[in-house]
Symmetry: none
Subunit: 222 residues, 4 copies
DNA sequence: AATGAATGAGAGTTCATTCAT
DNA sequence: AATGAATGAACTCTCATTCAT
């Protein structure tokens, strides 16, 4: 099972043009990611990573100073796109935020359907406590950007009277929550709905509730 | 957090003359829990656990056959109360489920405010992949009971026209989601709102959205 | 298999008259013997011995100061009969030794058919190097008596012209050899002849060869 | 199976410039053999073996997956020559088997005079019960070849009227027995004849008895 | 740039032995 | 006489890391 799927990560993409080039670090990271996800950081050997990347154990240390640096490198490589994605939300949008939220959630769900994208956050959740640096990177680079953006969007929606008067900080968590819980349930506990992951089913249910739930109250209603 | 509860271990049971043991397994579990939570299972030594429990390393093995058995024992000890709590939801309730959901969420939030209660689920999330047995126990004993109960509650609410027509399976995740996400953010990533955990602020915000979001649609509305 | 046969050693013999008496040390030795034979000295736990003897681990130490003392006790208990048996050979016999040798070999084979009798020598062979004291006891008490007796018998046979002129020391080994090899093959290597141990078949074949092989040479023959 | 083939690991490929290893597995086995013989398998530490071979403990595990694999490797390395030796007996010999038996015994005695050759069988006898795999290897590779060859030789001798009518299976044990017993006495119990091991003295005594003992009976004699 | 042999610090686990009761 | 909780020293095996080549 260890080497069963050689094309899963490293060889995927470019055919075999390069052959030992400056793509090496990336190949090592690919191998590390696959193994970390499959077995956890603690149960993965540097030697396994090396072999999966087609290198010797020693060579890994030419590119990364330690095993933990692999984890860090993995997170750093992944946050670029994610952070950008988070930034995608217009900073100074004015109007009903709900369509934007809907688009954001659908995009996020879409992205997280790809195991490659999901892998790193999953990893971070698992190793966060044992490796606080990792958690910090993720917090600083991803959460500290995405959450405030979402909060700001909500805040201006409240201010403009487009949505119900809610606490923006908490509302942001309410918006992301179902997605998080869904992934945790399926990925960590293996509680998978009949008929597959059903991320879209989740998102649509969530949005239905959210849309109505954020509707501003009519005058005189509680 | 570790030794917060002085009566947690020894005073339980017969306060008279006992040799030594009897409460020992529980003391060992207490020590293990504190250390696992603080450092993770993988980075905790049996010797550390033993010393924290005031025993020798060898004595731990008088009560638990392996290190992993400690983790399992921890989970088993914790699921009793939790499962009972989950069962608390009336199985054949008829009517608007929203007040019940609100009470359930508030109770859950309250319980999870106690570090002792939160510790085990946190542990399970982190070690689930490396120790699938653990995840399975938790899934079978907690999730497999709580989730269906919640789903059933929603389903009858939909059937009775008390709430909007939503997918009960997904809606259950939408109900739990914000709580899960909130705890993940604070406990794993250390993203804590200004002014403390603010679990009640989260719950109230969530319930406000949920209450309106589940309101059945008026005729002719989309 | 461990506790399958509770009456095999300890309870065998006396019904249950005594109940905790001066027979305790013997019961412990019985348990130890059974386990040592089944698993080897090194792989047997004092606790196993205690439980098989119906005692607590600590109680074993009331009777024997150490685990090795059990082995020693076992050997000491066994050598009494064996040494006596060896002594059975008349010290000052005069005449053709072959009938005596035959009787001796048949007796020995008979005795060694009983697993109880065979157990201790087997044990000694296995633990001799790790516990030289054991080997020494056996050597001094058993071998140092039986071998010289046999040698003397042969020597006088040679002197009297009853048997061929052989080196008595080596001839003694030639006499015991087949029995030893046979037991080694079957007990240690599990090479058992078709149709069971066949100790008598071995002895008769051996005696046939021996009888003729020891026949004194006729004058003028090589 | 691991080191059965001397060229299996290191010598394969370029015989040119090698770093250090190649002879390492054999060196480790040498160290292990010496220590196992001196102290027994159970009382020998992997660390002792490593140090005696001039390596670190960890390095031993580069060549052998476990301590027991060392024992197995030792046996496998030794059986090659021995088995070949056993095979040396002509399979279809016709005639008086006694000269052949004599040559065989003298060769065997000669070989077993070398401590290196004797070491492994000695080891096997001692560890056979605790490690049945070891006993099985030896039985299959050595005994299962040597014994039948000897038996066949005897059987045809009987059939051809060259030797007395004996049970070939038992006679084979009678032939090997004295050698076995002699080695057991001296190596295990330390009962060494005055003037050294005297293996040749034993063999000659044995052969004298055997030669006459196998002589076919004259007509009319019992 | 790359190898892979080698290291050494630990980790989990076992058990003979002790001792308060 | 007897218990069984407790200890602590060993031992096997693992693996991140280093370094000569």
């Amino acid at each position: 099972m260890s080497e069963a799927d050689p094309d899963s990560t490293a060889t995927a993409g470019a055919p075999k043009f390069r052959r030992r080039a400056e793509a090496r670090p990336d190949e090592v990271l690919d191998a590390a990611l696959a193994l970390f996800v499959a077995q956890g950081y603690g149960h993965t050997t540097v030697d396994q990573i090396a072999r999966r990347a087609g290198l010797s154990k020693g060579a890994v240390y030419l590119y990364f100073p330690s095993k933990k640096a692999l984890l860090e490198g993995l997170v750093r490589r992944a946050i670029g796109p994610v952070a950008g994605f988070a930034q995608g939300m217009p900073a100074h949008f004015r109007g009903d935020p709900r369509p934007l939220i809907a688009r954001f959630l659908r995009l996020a769900a879409d992205a997280l359907t790809d195991p490659h994208t999901l892998a790193v956050p999953k990893l971070v959740v698992r190793e966060a406590m044992a490796a606080p640096e990792i958690a910090q990177i993720y917090r600083d680079e991803v959460l500290a950007r995405a959450l405030p953006a979402l909060q700001a969007l909500i805040a201006q929606g409240v201010a403009g009277g487009f949505i119900r008067r809610v606490d923006p900080e908490m509302a942001a968590r309410c918006i992301m929550g179902p997605l998080v819980a869904h992934l945790l349930l399926s990925e960590v506990f293996g509680v998978i709905p009949e008929g597959g992951l059903a991320l879209d089913r989740l998102i649509e249910t969530h949005l239905a509730i959210l849309d109505a739930g954020l509707e501003p109250m009519l005058e005189g209603q509680p």
